[in-house]
């Protein structure tokens, strides 16, 4: 790799890591309740008592209800869009299976897209259904993380906070202001934001229009990734310049990384937050370098204005975090790059992962790590002062079991069903990679598309929708349950006999567990896709 490649990677890593501490501290202050001026009236309107705390069961029920209502709302809007305003192109109502897939996809922060935005959805649908869920699903993920942090700090208490307060504060004080700033900068860079009808150029080309910038900011910041246009951030109206590209790439990892610091602050042990961030980085950086190195000579499916390095960085960031936006087509990556993007998702979206969800997933992996290896210091396992016992292990086991279950079963059904293999562009191992990628993306709530696989069939829509729901809820609810169970426990003081969970050894151990436990299940499947392709290149 050339010096300029290294510089580009360095600038990217440097800027987003520099933002970790200030943004993380700000978010911690938000969750500590230092700002109350803007959200108080919302609780009054909604009739929520912000001081009333919930048990983990109540928290889960409110969390679930919020998702069900969101799901029904999106479903309703999409299935009736032709009667709504701001539909200059006159797009028709969507059939149920398609609307279901889109609704589950956006509600679960997956943003898998079985449609092309500019050829399917009205501006109203984009704004009222999808952009709203971009905020809502991101806030809901971060709320759980905050509840988990509370569970860790509290002693022998039955409640873990109020879901509505966590949700509102996240939206009002974190996501809205950040999105507003980013949208304005993107508009300045040339991203469009209007409600006009599509424009036909003198050359006869039709240029799609729409309120893009406002959606793109939150799509990047909230690890959503659902593009306004079909080709996502490869489209010049979504991502016109190198600067917009850099900002959008940074926005992918910004909040997930900063949340590590926030978590450390909230549990009053910043070292623990840094250790979790360190674990993410020692997995992320090697894969990033592998992709950039592997794609150095491959311009197929990439935008000339970004080049291979920025396409590689984006690919690593978007699959490590469960963002899923793309600025290049992963289908055209060389096998090594395909392997890396697949593998990063298969780790369970815990290396940065989704906002909130990535970190609570990583904390669940830390619990598993402590359980496996922690006993080697001669004590029953404990993490952050809390004993890890049967209930936590049950929940953590469910959480690590659900994503592979979704991916493997989904892929298996798809390869056996004519509708599942019908949409393949390629055959042989690459065809298998296309299906595997689609279900890995949905089964880990990533949402990025490999390209090449036309996934808009009834089978893939319904199966995929179910998988996205199961995967999101199957990790989220256990995480809330763990929060509740930990809150009810005593806190063991840290001593010399306690397993240190902030040192380099634990970081390596946690990374090893994520890689081995998180990915062992997928090695046989990977062998049949990108691995075979890689060896065929020789």
């Amino acid at each position: 790799m050339s010096t300029s490649d290294w510089i580009q990677i360095g600038v990217f890593l440097g800027i987003f890591l520099a933002a970790v501490k200030p943004l993380g501290a700000y978010m911690a202050a938000v969750y500590e309740g230092k700002f109350t001026r803007l959200d108080g009236w919302i609780y009054r309107i909604l009739g929520v008592d912000p001081g009333e705390e919930q048990s983990w069961q109540q928290y889960s029920i409110h969390w679930l209800c919020f998702h069900v209502v969101g799901l029904l709302a999106v479903l309703g809007i999409l299935m009736t869009q032709q009667w709504h305003p701001w539909n200059p192109q006159g797009f028709a109502n969507l059939p149920f299976h398609m609307a279901f897939n889109i609704a589950t996809s956006f509600v679960t922060n997956t943003n898998w897209q079985n449609y092309g935005g500019e050829s399917t959805l009205s501006y109203f649908s984009q704004m009222a259904a999808l952009t709203v869920q971009n905020f809502a699903s991101a806030s809901a993920g971060m709320a759980i993380l905050v509840a988990l942090a509370r569970g860790i700090t509290r002693r022998s208490v039955g409640v873990i906070g109020n879901f509505w307060v966590d949700l509102t504060r996240t939206t009002v004080y974190i996501l809205l202001p950040l999105s507003l700033v980013l949208s304005l900068v993107l508009i300045q860079q040339g991203v469009i934001d209007n409600l006009d009808a599509y424009v036909k150029t003198t050359g006869g080309q039709v240029l799609p229009m729409g309120p893009a910038a406002s959606q793109i900011a939150i799509k990047q910041l909230g690890t959503n990734g659902g593009g306004f246009f079909n080709v996502n951030s490869a489209h010049p109206f979504e991502n016109p310049t190198p600067l917009s590209n850099l900002l959008e790439m940074i926005a992918i990892l910004l909040i997930p990384a900063a949340l590590c610091y926030t978590f450390g602050r909230l549990i009053q042990d910043k070292r623990q937050g840094w250790a979790l961030l360190g674990t993410m980085l020692i997995i992320f950086v090697p894969f990033l370098l592998l992709i950039v190195w592997g794609e150095a000579s491959n311009m197929e499916g990439k935008e000339l204005r970004f080049g291979t390095v920025n396409s590689g960085i984006w690919a690593a960031a978007t699959t490590a975090a469960s963002n899923g936006s793309v600025n290049a087509m992963h289908d055209s990556f060389l096998p090594l790059g395909q392997f890396c993007t697949l593998f990063l998702m298969m780790l369970g979206e815990v290396v940065f992962g989704g906002v909130g969800s990535g970190l609570y997933g990583m904390i669940i992996f830390a619990i598993i790590t402590v359980f496996i290896a922690g006993q080697m210091v001669g004590r029953t396992p404990e993490y952050l002062g809390k004993k890890i016992e049967t209930f936590e292990m049950k929940m953590a086991s469910i959480a690590i079991l659900v994503p592979p279950l979704c991916v493997l079963v989904g892929t298996a059904i798809a390869v056996m069903h004519p509708q599942g293999v019908g949409g393949l562009l390629n055959h042989g191992p690459h065809g298998f990679s296309e299906i595997l990628y689609a279900f890995t993306s949905m089964g880990n709530n990533n949402g990025s598309a490999f390209g090449g696989y036309s996934a808009n069939s009834v089978l893939v829509n319904i199966l995929g929708g179910v998988i996205m729901l199961v995967s999101r809820f199957g990790v989220a609810i256990p995480a809330i349950a763990i929060a509740g169970s930990l809150a009810g426990k005593k806190t063991t003081p840290v001593g010399l006999g306690t397993l240190p969970t902030h040192g380099p050894l634990f970081i390596l151990l946690l990374a090893g567990t994520v890689v081995i436990v998180g990915a062992l299940a997928f090695l046989p499947a990977l062998a049949l896709g990108p691995v075979v392709e890689q060896f065929r290149l020789r």
Binding site: Q375, V409, P493, L496, L520, A521, A527, R536
Partner: protein
């Protein structure tokens, strides 16, 4: 590792599906063995037959580990059972010695009955001595051949069924029902018959089961994946069920799955070897977690008794004179402290021991009321006692304690000694300096504990000054002076509220509440029934220092469990490299590039992985039974050491092992 026929038979008996179903990981192997056996028979396929054979070995090796672990306890149980021989008891009609008795068999005795046990008789069941005192041979239970004294009242009143009275007689009130005696429970515990999974074991089983499900999914879905690959490639065949089963068994954590219960049994067994009976596996586990040890000063930190080291006379008298009266007052005092006064006077001033009878002296024993002892000799009243009691004694005679005596006594207390004041003829003669002798090496031991993150708290009835001095000398972290059972209990509660796990030892009835409250409670076998009921571990040697050993044994068990789990999971990486290229050899020969071990043929590769997977269980049985030694070097260093040994080792060893087995298979 000894293997006898019983253990062999037991390991085969454990092939019962009901037994296998208790362990989810091994149950999957069990089902896989049946499946591959059926395939081998149906298709007359030699490869499937070999796989099936080794899968059966895998299941059997797991059973064997358990049978061997249990077998050690069984031998012990058999010897215990011999002492439970049905004895004829002399059941009293009235609860007093000398009343009429009738012969009754042990099975006819009930809680509340009274029996008389005379020299040569076996004590029929557990009970409380209500009358008499006798020497009892408890070697059947403790293994200690020296007889012990059992007497009514006090802390030595409990007797155990199956022990034998050597001299004198006892009237015993039966405190247990037939079949529920200490001996019965002990037999059950050492046999592992009523062994329940410990909480941590259950949690680990859940994790292992979920990993098993993940790998089950990975292998089951591999069938359609490979069928798709075959269709696309147009060659080869989908992965066979035999290969899938082989892959599954290699990937699921069979090593730890097979050894898990053996590790638990071995942990209790190690306690037994240290002459400690664990009333549950949970107690052993909790022992590893303890972060506070409550240690009784006397017997644990200091030698059992204090010794006189100096005489400090009052101003009106001399050291020799003080030594003389001190010796006189102690001649009949049989306590170790009393003896040491006599010895010191003799050694330091050449004062010979005199016979009280010849002197015509009258011994005044220590009573709870006067809290003094002494002699009345030809009209002289010599008394010795604590500062408070001597002051009170003098005050009653309208005398005062001379200031220099008071100062000397306070100085001694400040240095950690116990001042014993001597008065003669109504005048204070001076102070005897009694000193606690801290056990050799105890400071280093506490240092080790501190390095391991365990704090020690000394419990003593001494005043705070004395306690502080001994605490400083012995290196304990904290102390509780002027301890009463209530204060002990509240200390435990306070520490537990901070989230700490507390261990303590106790023997007296008044220790029972604190024992019941402590997380790890070691009752002395010599102690009362109430203490033994409240404890979750019983130390047959009645050695208070044992607590430290118990903690190490608990840690050893947890370390062994964690190390073998880590090893088991780390092993998977190599197995993938062996099996994946082999499984897809016909469809995608390119994948042979993953065959980094250079295994000869696909069949040999898969079989080698399965054989390795089975043999590693056998290879690790000794480690599981012996346990991994605990080193008090702090958690961070310990983790690093064990990660290197069992984590990194677990990554590397199977590469070597599988390659070696493949080479050996090539010879045939």
């Amino acid at each position: 590792m000894m293997l006898n026929q019983n253990q062999l038979m037991e390991s085969l008996r454990k092939l019962n599906p009901k037994h296998q179903a208790k362990n989810p990981v091994m149950f999957v192997v069990f089902v896989g063995s049946i499946l591959t056996t059926v395939i081998a028979l149906k298709d007359a396929d030699a490869f499937s037959a070999w796989i099936a054979l080794w899968l059966w070995f895998t299941v059997w090796f797991g059973n064997l580990a358990e049978a061997i672990a249990e077998g050690r306890g069984k031998a012990q149980a058999d010897s215990l059972r011999k002492s439970r021989q049905s004895v004829m008891a002399k059941k009293l009609t009235e609860a007093r010695y000398g009343s009429a008795w009738v012969h009754a068999s042990g099975a006819d005795l009930h809680k509340g009955d009274f029996v008389v046990v005379e020299a040569g008789d076996y004590i029929p069941m557990d009970g409380e001595v209500v009358e008499g005192a006798a020497t009892v041979d408890e070697s059947a239970i403790t293994g200690e051949s020296a007889p012990v004294i059992r007497e009514s009242g006090g802390d030595r009143s409990s007797v155990t069924g199956g022990t034998r009275v050597l001299s004198d007689w006892l009237v015993v009130q039966i405190t247990s029902q037939p079949g529920e005696t200490f001996l019965d429970r002990m037999i059950g515990l050492v046999e592992g018959a009523n062994r329940k999974k410990t909480p941590n074991e259950i949690a680990l089983t859940i994790l292992l089961a979920s990993l098993t499900i993940v790998f089950l999914l990975a292998t089951v879905t591999l069938q359609p994946f490979s069928a798709f690959a075959v269709k696309e490639a147009g060659k080869g065949a989908a992965v066979s069920v035999t290969v899938l089963v082989a892959l599954l068994v290699c990937l699921i954590p069979t090593t730890i799955g097979a050894l898990l219960s053996a590790i638990g049994i071995a942990g209790m067994d190690r306690m037994l070897k240290a002459n400690v009976i664990a009333m549950s596996g949970r107690a052993v586990e909790a022992a590893g977690d303890v972060d506070i040890l409550l240690l009784d000063k006397t017997g644990t930190i200091t030698l059992g008794n204090r010794q006189a080291v100096a005489f400090i006379p009052a101003s009106h008298t001399s050291e020799v004179e003080l030594a003389d009266v001190a010796q006189l007052s102690s001649l009949a005092d049989e306590t170790p402290e009393g003896r040491s006064v006599v010895v010191l006077a003799k050694e330091k001033y050449g004062l010979r021991e005199r016979d009280l009878g010849q002197l015509g002296a009258h011994f005044v024993p220590f009573t709870a009321k006067t809290r003094m002892s002494g002699v009345d000799l030809n009209g002289r009243e010599i008394r010795k006692g604590s500062m408070d009691s001597i002051s009170a004694y003098l005050a009653a005679l309208n005398r005062e304690l001379p200031p220099e005596v008071k100062r000397a006594a306070e100085d001694i207390a400040r240095q950690g000694g116990t001042p014993l004041l001597v008065a003669a003829d109504g005048r204070a003669m001076g102070v005897i300096h009694l000193k606690d002798i801290v056990k050799g090496g105890i400071k280093e031991r506490f240092g080790e504990l501190r390095a391991a993150g365990i704090r020690t708290i000394m419990i003593t009835g001494d005043n705070p000054l004395t306690a502080a001095a001994i605490a400083a000398e012995s290196g304990v972290d904290e102390f509780l002076a002027e301890a009463t059972p209530e204060r002990k209990l509240s200390l435990i509660r306070e520490k537990q509220a901070e989230g700490r796990l507390v261990a303590m030892t106790g023997d007296g009835t008044n220790d029972a509440p604190a024992l019941a409250q402590a997380d790890v409670a070691v009752a002395m076998n010599s102690g009362t029934q109430a203490a033994k009921e409240a404890g979750n571990l019983i130390d047959l040697d009645s050695n208070p220092t044992k607590l430290i050993e118990i903690v190490a044994i608990g840690k050893q068990m947890l370390i062994t469990r964690g190390a073998l789990t880590t090893f088991s999971i780390a092993n998977d990486v190599a197995k993938y490299f062996a099996i994946i290229p082999a499984a897809f050899a016909a469809t995608y020969p390119e994948l042979n590039a993953l065959n980094v071990m250079g295994l000869r043929t696909p069949e040999s590769a898969i079989l080698s992985a399965v054989i390795f997977n089975a043999l590693i269980i056998v290879a690790l049985i000794p480690l599981a039974l012996k346990g991994i030694r605990y080193r008090p070097i702090g958690a961070a260093a310990l983790l690093q050491r064990h990660i290197l040994l069992y984590g990194v080792g677990g990554l590397i060893v199977p590469f070597i092992g599988i390659k070696a087995i493949d080479m050996i298979l090539g010879v045939f």
